[in-house]
Subunit: 294 residues, 2 copies
């Protein structure tokens, strides 16, 4: 496809919540390039596909291990943005279909489970049918009779002409959010000018042990960051394999204590501050890499 | 079974690595009570089953989420010990069977994969057959012809009479360790006197946010611990559900900086120090609970 538009890799299939998150960030100004796994999204990045969207953390299920295990490795990829998406299941039907006509509801097993109260209340007679993903249910709906419905992201109603949303926010759990990283193919990649960025400035540090004796948490680095008036928002840990068993890579998401204004001038100052801090953190027992500034 | 021996709950089936870890800690002085899940092990604890063994972390795959999600909840259970076990796959056969007779090797998919080099080198003609667990392969071996073998923990050769170990340590990866927690039904439960404890004294703190604004990492608590000369060995994070999305429960495994001697007098002093530190940590924005001392 040569539309002249920038390409953005997403964890597919199109119509999933990752695609919805990507759309929320990049909108319709880009072309979405669907990939089969988080590793494939990262692997697909290049100067012609400069950005990708991958899930980082869910508010109920926690951090996405596959994402952290990729960030654990040294590579050119660099976190350049975040998107927080409310997981909002919709009941989608073929245009014109009314609630009383529905006899069959298709969706991914997890989504069917998360909408159990709604289904018991509004569609007690309907049969539930499991599909491979929520987006696959919407796709299948296109070739199904009018007594069928799908539970999926609202983006499916835009993606597949002929479908419409009958109910939104039908899940039991009201506070299910997923946070995504916008990842760039290199730290030099600039975000397109049309984006509206409204979150606080942050950075992600990866701290790996160098010496065989460093099994402890890098508290010296935490103390140094606090001393520099840096706020630590998240600390995460993954095994540092091929080293002493149980040695760990630590990830620290940091932010400035007084930088709410995101002008390009302020963002540049923040980037410099992060690089300067990281260079001071080069010690003999740990290595600190900046793997994202956004 | 009323043998008069103390019962210890383990993640079953018997013959798995969790059982081997339990055996390494408690030996043959106790009766092992097999449970289907980590939650079931914790739920089975009582004054008659005072201890259980659950996996906490693997050196390659990281922390065991199910274990942390149980430790996240307020309950009577209390961590009272640790066991580090080298995951050491053995090739087990019926007594007297020689390598050249083997035509079929049974095991869990992961173990078969981890022993791929050994199988290609020593048994290139043998067929691999997947089983539900490594212990299930050993159990199946009992009723199989003499041309079969199983890949499993060495404890299976002790557990099932008629089987013997032909090769040990046949895995590709030489540094695969799992760390287990010995968990007690209450903080008052005393470890049996026959145990030999040779690890450093530690404790586990669980830090939960109280106020709606505390989305940050509890760096004030880290700073306080460092000020008290406490070493922080591990920091882990899980979602604190039913609160602000992305608020977290933090777990900190701590140890004293100068207490290598584990005499009961020193252990008592350490326990008191931990309780005293935790009581000083009661702030308005976080709650600190001691959920293990060992």
């Amino acid at each position: 496809m040569t539309t002249g538009k920038m390409e953005v890799a997403v964890l597919g299939p199109l119509g999933t919540y990752t695609h919805e998150a990507a759309f929320k960030f990049f909108g319709s100004e880009v072309v979405y390039n669907e990939q089969d796994s988080i590793a494939d999204v990262c692997g697909a990045l290049s100067s012609s596909v400069p950005f990708g969207i991958i899930p980082q953390e869910n508010s109920i299920f926690g951090t996405v291990v596959e994402t952290y295990d990729i960030l654990r490795n040294t590579g050119p990829n660099f976190v350049r943005g975040e998107i927080v998406l409310k997981i909002n299941h919709c009941l989608i039907v073929k245009k014109g279909v009314k609630l009383h006509q529905i006899r069959k509801v298709m969706s991914h097993e997890q989504a069917l489970g998360q909408c159990m109260d709604f289904l018991a209340d509004k569609l007690p007679e309907a049969v539930s049918v499991k599909t491979k993903s929520t987006a696959a249910a919407a796709r299948e709906l296109l070739d199904s009779p009018s007594d069928c419905a799908a539970i999926c992201s609202g983006i499916c109603a835009e993606l597949f002409p002929g479908l419409e949303i009958l109910f939104t926010s039908i899940q039991n759990e009201r506070s299910n959010f997923t946070r995504f990283h916008a990842i760039a193919y290199s730290r030099q990649a600039s975000l397109p000018h049309f984006l509206t960025i409204d979150y606080e400035m942050k950075a992600l540090l990866r701290i790996t042990p160098c010496s065989k004796s460093s099994l402890e948490c890098p508290t010296d680095i935490i103390a140094f960051l606090l001393d520099q008036n840096i706020i630590i928002g998240r600390i995460d840990r993954r095994p540092f394999v091929d080293s002493v068993p149980f040695s760990s890579v630590y990830f620290m998401e940091i932010r400035a204590s007084d930088l709410h204004d995101r002008s390009s001038h302020r963002f540049q100052a923040w980037s410099q501050e992060v690089e300067s801090i990281a260079s001071k953190l080069g010690t003999t027992s740990r290595q600190t890499h900046v793997i994202g500034i956004w």
